[in-house]
Point group: C2
Chain length 562, copies 2
């Protein structure tokens, strides 16, 4: 019989406990949870605030009573682990209601304390009595209560990450005029800029204001006025602070020992092994009796092998199960996370997996990007819509680095398929041949994922190269020849400055009109990239050698310039 | 310059032509199409009849004029290829309007003639003037015209395959009382019986009658009366015959040479190589200048390596592209199809990939099946629903043979992910660790696909074995001990005859009530399988050795008994 202590009773901790019990009926398993609730639906909190989820009880996936009974666990809420004595294998626990402390010994310790919202020391922040963060049920209760009691007209959401965007939407649903303030030039960091622009448009279209490239300098008037770094001031009735999360390290009692002497990564996460065990900060040795999982853990980027931390529920659940497995003698080799994610933004679905272009640039990896706008299902069947997609890959090996998609129905499905392909080591070649379900209400005979595979392989094979929305203006300004092969009608309705229009279906006859030599680069665009590609094949057959397709066509260009 | 002739101008043929032109601007490419239209949306026809698609022009994905111009093709409609002279490399073409014939020579011949609806010689079939099949636009026009002119009250659909079910739904949408007659004991052959039962229920719930295990013996009264094999007679105003398709072999002129001397498979499909080339019937040699693709081709079952034919648009498109590639010197190694498919049946989505249990039995493969009913997304987020899923795998290697799913939103997404896993050689182990997009409106932190992986691995690892809905009654009748661990309330509302009820959460305390020895098999059930599994873990810890979980729980049992 082992005695296993778990710090944190939600996604990682509760999952680990359940699996531990399934694997061993005898072990003593104690969960310490600082808050009142265990095993609650963090991810549902914004929707509870928005009254989309109306029944508060639904947020409680498991109650202490229910879970204790079902899994024969000792679950102690309002119990904060404030110190870990690794030598004596004990933890110090404080009852947060009474302040009393006691120690509890362990054979195995699992740390799943999660991450806490960042709350920087800014002028006036402590005086702001209308300022909220959102992590748990009491936070949600506070926000809901404030709304009901104060009936705010205006709200500001600081930070345009997942939680910020969800909160903006849910506050807007309650009739509140919302402004999002974001320090970067875009929301939703998993997206690249041009993809985020589609989201910006959706946010604005739903009446939410967006202030980009501006940070918070301070709060005035008990939080009723927010001062931005630009000097601008905005009035607000309430504010949600959602600028990110940081590892909620235990051992709060002793700040110096906050990490329990465990090795921490660059951003303060607990370094873990492929078995989810921790590392001693001094010796670098594996600490075999302490596991760390979930938001607090530093893990491996599955795609690039780099260090990362992925504060998402799927990986937390997965890691919880694997830690329990390893504790019970099952081989575990956790190869990291892809950070597959999805988010509803009003009527859009935003999904991504793997690395985006920004990350690849930072990591100095060689990559190519392709954009496409396939229809989510047969266009002749009612209700179809375009999905804006972006695929990133290594043009030499065909390895897939990541993908992003913004659209309506069927958006995250395509990212799931690509995530599966990445996970199983498939390349852009494999995307071509995937055999996905097709009937008119669901897809097309060539699924969007197949199409991305075709496009990527053409680029990888050097059939043509891509030119990107953020390069083409300069190219044309510097004398580059840009051929727009859409119809004159489309061209007339809007085109890139300096482009020359020869409709695809006339290109064979009008090829002599192209004034540049066969060795001069030609840039071709159409609406989304398909017709430009067909034009490129014709140009090639006519001897032109350096041809570029505007990735994603005029549509990506226009979206990006929103 | 090559001269390439293509027989058939729709899914396979048109795709091949487009790719051929992209790969080579010089080749002479001629498409022969017997009918009026090329490149039309076969798959949209039922929805056009149902007025779901209202604009007939939308069915024409490409027109002859448009496609000829764009791809510089010679497209000849109303032109049937009626003979192939392989020695002289010519085809004989008949203008189906004038009856005139001529020959055309080729360097390469691509056969993509598709498959034609079966129309057996039954009593009175030729006199039935209200009997229709559905393959192309003229067929759809005929059906629509008949409906508009005759305003039928009742219709009979003969055959419960994809097209039959789609037609039943679309006729019902037009206010017609529909009866489906199906020879087998279920509709939709890709499904196993218990999964099809869920579909039967949906069909009936939408006012469509279903006559199973009865065939058509004849028609009376110009088709107004249908005589069934059982002797039963049904009145109908119109009838759709959709009992399957057969390869539409060219060379209709000379029935003996229908196959152009090419090797045919057991069901009359043209045998193809991994390069989509054909085989000489006599010599067994590859016929390098004749390719066969699409519904007419015999290909390989990707999962089991057996011979198969997959009359679906995805594979036809894929094969069309690959044939064009191979003709242009690109390496091609087509490893076959999974037969991934999806179908809308009123409010349900029915999807599957790979082999079903019936096929595996026929092939004599060792397999295990697991059933589950995961929610399509977080249950605390509004609008969630259960997906009935079934996974088939090799318990030794973990190889995935196939999967089926019946549900609402998000159903085909899970099959796409499994199809991708199969295609990339992933096993049930890999399903566990797939990292799929999660937010409450889209999935759960453990996606249904992960869950199937967990369940399958537990079975493969011998943690427990499954017992199935069609075995349990006999087992209990023969004295088997069946423990139902649901709550007394659930038990009271319906349970399997002979089951004993001990609620999961009381099992630890009441374990002594179990009257059988530790070596006697125990069968456990709950609603879907999860609680039974938790009970099994407790039973095991208490020394019971042979424990079975009722796969899919009481829910699959009840669904199957519909
Ligand atoms: C509003 C919101 C929305 C989200 N939406 C999504 C989503 O849509 N999709 C998604 O994948 N992820 C989402 N997440 C993230 C997801 O919830 C987390 O990744 C996941 O819960 C992490 O699991 P964990 O076990 O590491 O931490 P948590 O689930 O946060 O659990 C940690 C627990 O440990 C307790 N604790 C901390 N320190 C101590 C201590 N010293 N002693 C005792 N107890 C302690 C905390 O009180 C906390 O309850 C969302 C998160 C939030 C807050
Ligand atoms: C009503 C209906 C609904 C469908 N729904 C779906 C669906 O939802 N999903 C899915 O994946 N698949 C669906 N399919 C199947 C899909 O359409 C076929 O698998 C696909 O079209 C096959 O392509 P093909 O090129 O082999 O044949 P086809 O697309 O049928 O094209 C063959 C063409 O060849 C012509 N032809 C035949 N013989 C000759 C000859 N001797 N000379 C000249 N021309 C000739 C025929 O007139 C025909 O137009 C559906 C089919 C139908 C009929
Ligand atoms: C219409 C039809 C002729 C089109 O065939 P196609 O040209 O091969 O297919 P698509 O139009 O989807 O285009 C795919 C090509 O465009 C390229 N492409 C697509 N989108 C692109 C983009 N945004 N940028 C660059 N290239 C793009 C792909 O790489 C691919 O080219 P490749 O094969 O040379 O690599 C054929 O699909 C057809 O006849 N369909 C109707 C019949 C049918 O399928 N019926 C059954 C289903 S209802
Ligand atoms: C509720 C909670 C404790 C459940 O953890 P869990 O028991 O590991 O997970 P599940 O209830 O999904 O059950 C999975 C187990 O049941 C088994 N199972 C599931 N369905 C089954 C079925 N139909 N038949 C047989 N077994 C089944 C699986 O095999 C798995 O067992 P295993 O890990 O031993 O192989 C945990 O997920 C939790 O706390 N969730 C809420 C917090 C959270 O995740 N928040 C973030 C998202 S909002």
């Amino acid at each position: 019989m082992k005695k296993i202590l778990i710090v944190g009773g939600v996604a990682g901790g509760a999952t680990a406990a359940a699996r531990l019990r399934r694997l061993n009926e005898e072990d003593e398993i104690i969960i310490f949870e600082r808050g009142e609730y265990i095993s609650f639906a963090n991810c549902g909190l914004p929707y509870y605030i928005g009254n989309v989820i109306s029944d508060r009880n639904k947020l409680l996936v498991q109650t202490i009573e229910g879970m204790s009974k079902r899994f024969n666990l000792d679950i102690r809420n309002f119990s904060e682990v404030i110190d870990v004595d690794r030598e004596n294998k004990t933890v110090k626990v404080r009852n947060v209601k009474t302040g009393e402390t006691y120690t509890e010994n362990y054979d195995i310790l699992i740390l799943s304390p999660g991450a806490k919202p960042l709350k920087p020391k800014i002028d006036g922040i402590d005086e702001a009595d209308n300022l909220f963060v959102l992590r748990n049920i009491p936070d949600a209760d506070d926000i809901k209560k404030f709304i009901e009691e104060n009936k705010p007209n205006r709200a500001v959401v600081i930070g345009g990450g997942f939680i910020g965007i969800e909160m903006a939407e849910n506050l807007a649903l309650r009739g509140i005029k919302v402004t999002i303030v974001e320090k970067l030039n875009q929301v939703l960091p998993p997206l690249d800029f041009e993809m985020a622009q589609i989201v910006h448009q959706e946010i604005n279209a739903n009446g939410v204001d967006l202030i980009l490239e501006d940070g918070i300098a301070g709060f005035k008037d008990r939080g009723r006025k927010i001062v931005l770094e630009s000097g601008k001031e905005i009035d607000t009735d309430m504010t949600i602070l959602s600028i990110g999360v940081a590892p909620d390290l235990p051992c709060s009692e002793n700040p110096l020992a906050k990490s329990c002497g465990l090795a921490l990564g660059k951003k303060g996460h607990i370094v873990t092994t492929k078995q989810l065990q921790t590392i001693d900060a001094k010796t670098g040795q594996v600490v075999e009796d302490i596991y760390a999982i979930g938001d607090v853990a530093q893990i491996t980027d599955y795609v690039t092998g780099d260090e990362t931390a992925v504060p998402l529920a799927g990986p937390a659940n997965r890691q919880g199960r694997l830690a329990a497995d390893h504790i019970n003698g099952i081989d575990v080799n956790y190869t990291g996370a892809l950070a597959s994610s999805v988010l509803k933004v009003f009527n859009l679905t935003v999904a991504s997996t793997g690395n985006n272009e920004r990350q690849l640039k930072t990591k100095g990896l060689k990559y190519k990007a392709v954009h496409a706008h396939p229809a989510n299902h047969a266009t002749y069947y009612p209700g179809s819509s375009q999905i804006a997609m972006k695929l990133l890959f290594d043009p030499d090996s065909g390895k897939i680095y990541g993908a992003q998609a913004v659209g309506r129905e069927g958006t995250e499905k395509r990212i799931d398929v690509i995530a599966t392909t990445i996970k199983l080591g498939g390349t852009i070649r494999d995307l071509q041949g995937l055999e996905l379900c097709y009937a008119p209400p669901y897809s097309s005979a060539k699924d969007p994922v197949n199409m991305l595979g075709y496009i990527a392989c053409n680029v990888a094979d050097g059939v043509y190269d891509m030119v990107y929305w953020n390069e083409i203006d300069d190219i044309v300004k510097n004398g580059g020849y840009l051929l727009d092969v859409r119809t004159p009608l489309e061209f007339g309705a809007g085109h890139i400055e300096g482009a020359v229009n020869i409709e695809l279906d006339e290109l064979r006859n009008r090829i002599d009109e192209i004034p540049v030599s066969k060795d001069t680069p030609i840039y071709v665009n159409c609406q989304v990239g398909l017709r430009a590609y067909l034009a490129i094949r014709i140009l090639q057959a006519n001897g032109f050698k350096k041809i570029y397709n505007l990735s994603g066509g005029y549509l990506t260009y226009k979206e990006a310039k929103y």
